[in-house]
């Protein structure tokens, strides 16, 4: 008998022992994606599949008076009709689902939806939350208070008062929300879902359909983006399953783009009136803010104000304004882009009132950022060098002649990110290949790749000897891809499972190598004695000790040892050119310096940061959901009118990840959210620095820039006596 292995507390390998972890490794599913070989939910077509289409209410607030689906049922190709909301139901936002049809072809389903007869009683709606005074209902949140804000403000040597606004924006995933539902038996469902929560959606489907969760299988091999909008099965997921049940055939229901943009993703709007006070040296002493915003009928997000800087005397109160708009969804780094933009705009205006370089104001106040102070300090230094901030910064208003003005802006941000609950099962086969099974999903973040990297590096096997099996609810449960918790969760669970499997192998191999199990290591395809590499056996020889049976072990997060922690810091700087005659803003350069603890794959990590800069540029320059006050409908519900940044709009992008001592030992921390927080604030500050006046509304469209110039910055943050 092999000696039992003493359980050791798992950790990450030391830098010298990391062969794959932290390297720049191309995502493993890259070839499948770049070749069009990857099959997303939208691409699948099980035998006999029907297409579903939904009737959506065109009114923001209405009651269904009559509903008649008889004609739709009689239309060619129609196999199922499902009434979602019956007469009498009150609709609370435009494009809410009323009824659905499944037919042999998509066109037939669309034709049948048109044949549904419906009458509404149109009710008054409210969709214009930007003016708090006009709101029929306001849900005031609790006041957050520290010290004596009013007294500190009165005593401040310099203070400013300003108003800042940002509208709601859409997630606009390239792959629309949707799924294919297939009943394999009367109470057994298989659903291919475009989701960022494979495990979670399986149980939501079971609950919604009243069947045992054990009978539901959810599959998501490839997902065309989520950004926080795809955690829920959504009502249309249940409807799809109901249609499939009625029709006795698999049904595909994907949202049309106008629905996707209207109801399937929304970041809450945010508006704030802020007063900030400081000493003449820039030390922040007082903060008073009132903010409001809407996330649809329920509560809106509450942006953290003041953001990052824990000003000793502060008071803040946020109000949610219910509107007749679809419910908001978590949008990368929920509430933080709002909190950062509102706060950093005010602090930038304060720096101007102080006559200080905003970089100096930020540095002066780093002690107010708590445990991230040292990280911010290092990152600001790196960002300063990459941007040439100190050489290039000028006081507000570019004095250069000509209409094109250049400006610099900066912002800093933080995020949590501790790994979520996750389970992994590792199998090592007799041929010395291995696989990790984990019911996570890869929404473009590189999850599949990091699982494989951790597995291979832990077992000392090459990457092509391992497989990451994800995207199936039959694998061990794992959390949704949200809050930058995925990489910490899945890599920790995979590491523990692989170490547990390795423990079994070491126990078997130790006697043959005349060593104790704890003296062994798995490196370069071999099991060998630490410090005596000549005493080794190949992985295949080791696996031969188990006969024909693979070795299997489980691992979970949380678990023994601390493999993932929380709290990262990042700094971003923007360089813009603004034409003050046309109002057009162009991004010249963005610098992002980001920390996220121990990096598993440098390339996909950097991609998250590049992606955040680009999505941030897009929201800063173009994105805004425009809701018509008269009809209550989102007017820009297509790609033509919901404008986003293209490849020529993003300027030069510089990304620098902070790694090494002081960073790596904090374990693996996610990075999908943090770099998404600052871009808007950094760009808004850069535009202000360029043109000399605050443009207090984003996105920074030509019209808004020109309006702010015409008003001579009257609406921005101003010094008050």
């Amino acid at each position: 008998m092999a000696e039992p292995v003493e359980p050791t507390v798992p950790g990450w390998p030391e830098a010298a022992d990391r062969k794959l972890i932290g390297q720049r490794i191309a995502r493993l599913d890259g070839p499948a994606k770049a070749s069009g070989n990857a099959k997303y939910t939208y691409d699948l077509k099980p035998q006999g599949m029907l297409w579903a289409k939904m009737l959506l209410c065109p009114h923001a607030h209405a009651r269904i008076k009559t509903l008649d689906v008889a004609a739709a049922k009689a239309m060619p190709g129609v196999k199922a009709v499902f009434v979602i909301q019956k007469p009498g139901a009150e609709i609370q936002w435009a494009f809410d689902e009323v009824a659905a049809v499944a037919a042999t072809s998509e066109a037939q389903a669309a034709d049948a939806v048109k044949a549904i007869k419906i009458e509404y009683e149109v009710l008054p709606h409210f969709v214009t939350e930007e003016k708090l005074a006009g709101a029929p209902k306001v849900d005031p949140g609790e006041e957050e208070k520290e010290g004596d804000a009013e007294a500190a403000l009165a005593a401040a040597e310099v203070r400013i008062k300003g108003s800042y606004s940002m509208p709601s924006v859409a997630h606009n995933c390239m792959e629309a929300h949707g799924q294919i539902c297939h009943w394999t038996e009367p109470d057994h469902l298989t659903a291919w879902c475009s989701t960022q929560a494979v495990s979670g959606v399986a149980s939501q489907l079971a609950k919604g359909l009243g069947i045992p969760a054990a009978n539901v299988r959810v599959i998501a091999d490839y997902v065309g983006g989520g950004f926080g909008s795809k955690f829920s099965v959504d009502r249309w997921g249940i409807v799809c399953a109901q249609l499939a049940k009625i029709a006795g055939a698999p049904v595909k229901l994907m949202l049309d783009r106008h629905a996707e943009l209207t109801v399937a993703g929304d970041r809450p709007s945010a508006f704030a009136e802020i007063e900030v006070g400081a000493k003449k040296d820039g030390t922040l002493t007082a903060w008073v803010s009132k903010s409001w915003g809407s996330g649809g009928p329920g509560s809106a997000g509450d942006p953290p104000l003041p953001y990052v800087f824990q000003i000793p005397n502060r008071r803040h109160q946020h109000s949610a304004v219910p509107t007749h708009k679809a419910s908001s969804r978590a949008w990368r780094a929920p509430n933080s882009p709002q909190g950062c933009y509102l706060s950093m705009s005010a602090i930038d205006d304060l720096a101007h009132a102080l006559g200080m370089n905003p970089l100096d104001v930020v540095i002066q106040n780093l002690p107010l950022t708590g445990r991230l102070e040292k990280i911010y300090r290092e990152e600001l230094e790196v960002a300063d060098q990459l941007m040439g901030w100190r050489q290039r910064w000028h006081p507000r208003g570019d004095a250069a002649r000509g209409p094109v003005k250049r400006g610099l802006g900066l912002a800093i941000h933080t995020w949590g990110g501790r790994g979520h609950r996750s389970n992994c099962e590792v199998t090592i086969h007799p041929d010395a290949t291995a696989e990790a099974k984990i019911s996570t999903q890869d929404i473009g973040t590189g999850t599949r790749t990091v699982v494989a990297i951790v597995l291979a590096d832990t077992l000392g096997l090459p990457l092509d000897a391992v497989q990451a099996r994800i995207g199936d609810s039959r694998y061990p449960a794992s959390g949704g891809s949200g809050g930058s918790t995925t990489v910490g969760g899945v890599s920790s669970a995979t590491r523990r499972a692989a170490l547990n499997a390795l423990g079994q192998v070491f126990a078997k191999a130790a006697p043959a190598l005349k060593a104790k199990p704890e003296e062994l290591e798995a490196v370069e395809g071999k099991i060998r004695v630490k410090g005596a590499p000549e005493r080794s056996m190949t992985w295949k020889q080791a696996m031969a000790l188990f006969g024909r049976t693979p070795v299997t072990a489980a691992g979970a997060n949380p678990g023994p040892g601390e493999l993932t922690t929380s709290g990262v810091g990042g700094v971003q700087m923007a360089d813009v050119a603004v034409d003050v005659e046309t109002g057009v803003v162009k991004i010249q350069k963005m610098v992002a310096v980001q920390d996220c603890g121990l990096i598993v794959d440098l390339q996909t990590t950097e991609s998250q940061v590049y992606g955040s800069l680009i999505m941030g540029i897009s929201t800063a320059l173009a994105e805004e959901k425009v809701t018509d006050p008269v009809t209550g409908i989102t007017l820009n519900h297509d790609f033509e009118t919901y404008r986003m940044a293209g490849i020529g709009d993003v300027g030069e992008l510089v990304v620098r990840m902070m790694t090494g001592p002081g960073y790596d030992e904090r374990g693996v921390i996610g990075v999908g959210e943090p770099p998404m927080v600052s871009p808007l604030a950094a760009i808004a500050n850069a535009v202000t620095n360029a043109v000399g006046v605050r443009v207090p509304w984003v996105p920074l469209t030509p019209r808004r820039v020109l309006d702010a110039l015409a008003a001579n910055g009257a609406n921005g943050g101003k010094a008050v006596a």
Binding site: S35, G36, C173, M174, Y610, G611, I614, I647, G648
Partner: protein, 262 residues
């Protein structure tokens, strides 16, 4: 339904007579490429046959025969005249690399190469594109033997969720076919008709610029062989340039590069 997609050696438009084709094409062409509009007018014409212009056939609204040449294979199908090329590819031919995202000719996720040009497959009616050769992402490489452009997308991580990627690859292919040595500005222009939501433009710039010198190596070797067989002398690129300026220029460019690399 699709035939099994055999190599196409028949003349284009073979499924219907040339006269029928021109008539059908004329009707569809006059209606533009808006699928719904075509469907509605066709339906109006069906209800009131007198509305059809004198001497013209009206197609649909039921399925009509269509022959497509996709990736050098012929497909004989029956589809409603309102059906887009994108939907035919995805629903009938199982070519799902081109994605449906905006379905309104804006996002570029459905980009294919039609007659040498990058077009939005969602904005082409299938009945309108029967004569032109259509190339899709599936005609490039597959995992294990990627086309250099696809390999560059992988290497430079010019993709995240990957849903827009096939469209970008095809737009980049069309760009490089016409502009073999693009500047960054050319890349921006060539890919300006496509959107990515994950924000992969930084990787795309690198990928397209890195792939440019690697493009068409295999194709060109084949071309050169063919030129030799055809008795063409392309020492100075003149004959080839005379026939096809872009190709000749690219070959010259390439020779220079080869020499440059020793």
């Amino acid at each position: 339904m699709a035939t099994d997609g055999k190599e196409d050696d028949s003349p284009p438009g073979g499924g219907i007579s040339r006269r029928d084709f021109l008539r059908g094409g004329a009707v569809a062409g006059a209606l533009g490429s808006a699928g719904l509009l075509a469907g509605e007018i066709a339906e109006a014409a069906r209800k009131n046959p007198a509305a059809a212009p004198d001497g013209m056939d009206v197609w649909g609204p039921g399925p009509v025969p269509v022959r497509l040449r996709v990736n050098n294979k012929a497909y004989d199908l029956k589809v409603e005249p309102r059906t887009t090329l994108l939907d035919v590819m995805r629903e009938e031919l199982e070519l799902t690399g081109a994605k449906r995202v905006c379905d309104r000719g804006t996002c570029g996720a459905c980009t294919v190469i039609l007659d040498g040009k990058a077009v939005y497959a969602c904005s082409q009616l299938a009945i309108d594109v029967q004569r032109q050769p259509i190339w899709t992402i599936e005609s490039l490489g597959r995992p294990g033997r990627l086309h250099p452009l696809q390999a560059a997308f992988v290497e430079h991580d010019a993709q995240q969720c990957g849903f827009c990627t096939p469209g970008f690859v095809m737009a980049a292919k069309a760009l490089l076919d016409h502009t073999p040595s693009p500047t960054l500005k050319d890349v921006h222009h060539g890919l300006s008709g496509n959107f990515c939501r994950c924000g992969t433009y930084a990787g795309m710039r690198l990928a397209v610029l890195a792939a440019a010198p690697l493009m068409g190596e295999e194709e060109e070797e084949e071309e050169e062989e063919k030129d030799v067989k055809d008795g063409k002398d392309d020492k100075d690129g003149r004959d080839v340039q005379g026939e096809d300026g872009a190709r000749g220029a690219r070959k010259k460019d390439k020779k220079k590069r080869r020499r440059g690399h020793g």
